[in-house]
């Protein structure tokens, strides 16, 4: 079984978000980048399924410029076998999906795993685009993934419940908790990651379909109005008469 795991390079979850003075770009200065938290579920589950089968390969794929390589190496340290970086700024979801679809097709991957969504652009769309480009099913967001031969059984989250879905390879799934316990690199992994293959390839396809004109931060809160714990019922009156939300 050949697994392709797509990872996005995103600002650490504790990042205070700021923009360049013209508000046109995210301000990267001093920001720590990490593997998108949801992609860690995809990566760990692929490694677990490979180990359980006793054969197969896990390839990680990132569309990004050279500054994403530390996180690609981290994915190799966690246990991926090799990596591909498409050398281009990931200008939008459609552009990223084109790159993933092209690599998936060329390498004849059986299972293409992603995270539910990126925590920077929150698109929640690359998986569906890749599935459609390749003409194969997408299961998103998946909370559980088991394989038996060429058949996968997944739990897909829906509003208010879940669906049990079964698909044959090749397919795309986007992963989220509680699929597995994401692994962290150990010393041996870090040592071997240095020598694992990382191939850099040029981008293909059409340009992006969307462009960001401007970023903005949410309006600041006015400040908190404190109510005495002894008079907690007062809060309910304020919520009805002042805030008008109940």
């Amino acid at each position: 079984m050949k697994f392709l795991v797509c990872i996005s390079n995103v600002p650490d979850t504790t990042t205070k978000i700021t923009f360049t003075p013209d508000n046109k770009e995210f301000n990267k200065a001093g920001v720590q980048f990490v593997i998108n938290p949801w992609d860690e579920y995809a990566l760990t589950r692929a490694i677990e399924l490979k180990e359980a089968a006793g054969s197969g390969t896990v390839t990680v794929l990132n569309v990004g410029e050279a500054d994403t390589e530390p996180n690609i190496r981290k994915a190799l340290a966690i246990g991926a076998d090799d990596a591909i970086r498409v050398n281009a700024a990931p200008s939008d979801a459609y552009f990223v999906a084109e790159q993933i679809a092209a690599i998936a097709k060329e390498g004849a991957y059986d299972v293409i795993l992603m995270g539910k969504e990126s925590i920077d652009y929150n698109g929640f769309q690359v998986h569906g685009m890749v599935g459609e480009m390749l003409g194969i099913p997408t299961v998103a967001p998946a909370m559980k993934l088991d394989m038996s031969g060429n058949t996968a059984t997944l739990e897909r989250e829906i509003e208010g419940g879940k669906e049990i879905v079964s698909v044959n390879t090749p397919f795309v799934a986007s992963c989220q908790q509680p699929m597995c316990e994401p692994r962290i690199p150990n010393m041996r992994g870090i040592m071997t990651a240095r020598t694992k293959p990382l191939k850099v390839v040029p981008a293909v396809g059409e340009p992006a379909r969307t462009t960001v004109a401007e970023f903005a931060l949410p309006p600041k809160k006015q400040g908190v109005k404190l109510i005495d714990a002894e008079n907690a019922g007062e809060l309910i009156k304020l919520l009805r008469n002042e805030a008008k939300v109940i």
């Binding site: 925590i119 929640f124 769309q125 997408t138 879940k162 669906e163 049990i164 079964s166 809160k221 009805r240």
Partner: protein
């Protein structure tokens, strides 16, 4: 040319988020000098579909194929794509739900359309320039995105726009068939398992949310959260560590790595207000924080606060709500 709106139905009712989407679509149609048509998916009821006239929809297409009751990605995509071609829709509007995102992303490739998800406001249209405002960085920011090309798909964030109600207006419900075959249902779910809806309110659609953190001390105390939620007609939610240790199910976990909610009222009980938690809730209109530590970071993001013990404060709040009603 028209605007096509995808409305999701369950148990015969149009989902609240789809009423918002219908209203959004009708307003976009008005901006563009055209009309809005809806296509219904899920288990629909014709009388309720006709009522979409109240949101400004003129016509509703409905395919009574019984296998469309549950979500099937391929079948839904083909159904909506066929409707879009028939109606020559330039704009397709859907909810930023699990169904909307799954279908919208496939449609964007099939129909060669540009796609914006997580959209929070009506578009700005000036000449050929079509710009939408969307949430980014997990609730920490917004971006204005320009959509190129002839066709556009917009997925509207739940509870970010208000549904208009023009009482008494009705839409014409027309039967519609996309000639779906067995092959289109190949990825149909084997089984659908719905949660036991104790409080009756679904978190992603909720207008009011009562949420508990580690300060609640253990699952045996959750009746305090549930009682207040029930009195308010609210859904229940929790912080990540609470679902990590299985005090509460994972689908209640809100935050940067859980679900993002934007209710009118979010009440946080015994939650410290870590940046990852705030990211998922800070677009709530009114935030109430109950925490015994006056230095808890959540107070900085709150509109109202009570410095106190949840075990003392929550029963008082529940009693006060019951006294109001």
């Amino acid at each position: 040319m028209s605007v096509l709106v995808v409305v999701e139905c369950a148990d015969g009712e149009v989902k609240k988020s789809s009423l918002e989407v219908a209203s959004y679509g009708a307003q976009v149609a008005a901006q563009m000098g055209t009309t809005a048509t809806a296509i219904a998916v899920g288990e629909a009821n014709e009388a309720n579909l006709a009522k979409l006239g109240e949101q400004g929809i003129t016509k509703v297409l409905y395919d009574a194929e019984p296998r469309l009751k549950d979500f099937v990605n391929n079948a839904y995509t083909k159904l909506i794509a066929t409707a879009a071609e028939q109606e020559q829709a330039k704009i397709i509007v859907l909810a930023n739900s699990n169904i909307g995102a799954a279908v919208g992303s496939r449609l964007s490739v099939r129909l060669k359309a540009s796609l914006a998800t997580n959209v929070v406001e009506l578009p700005k249209i000036s000449g050929d320039q079509f710009t939408v405002k969307r949430g980014a960085f997990s609730g920490k920011a917004f971006s204005d995105v320009v959509l190129s090309g002839d066709r556009k798909i917009i997925a509207v964030k739940k509870n970010s726009t208000e549904a208009q109600h023009d009482a008494g207006k009705t839409a014409e419900v027309t039967s519609f068939s996309a000639q779906l075959s067995d092959a289109d249902f190949a990825d149909a779910p084997k089984q659908v398992v719905m949660q036991d809806q104790a409080g009756g309110v679904l978190l992603p659609e909720a207008e009011r949310v009562v949420s508990g953190g580690r300060g609640m001390k253990g699952p045996e105390n959750w009746h305090l959260i549930e009682d207040l939620a029930k009195a308010l007609g609210a859904a229940t939610a929790c912080s990540k560590p609470v679902s990590d240790v299985d005090w509460r199910p994972h689908h209640e976990h809100v935050g940067q790595t859980g679900i993002t909610v934007s209710p009118n009222l979010y009440i946080a009980c015994g939650i410290s207000g870590a940046i990852q938690h705030l990211a998922g809730v800070n677009s709530s209109k009114v935030i109430v924080v109950i925490n015994k530590d006056p230095e808890a970071p959540f107070f900085k993001a709150a509109d109202y606060g009570i410095v106190g013990d949840v075990f003392d404060v929550l029963p008082k709040l529940t009693a006060a709500v019951k006294a109001l009603n």
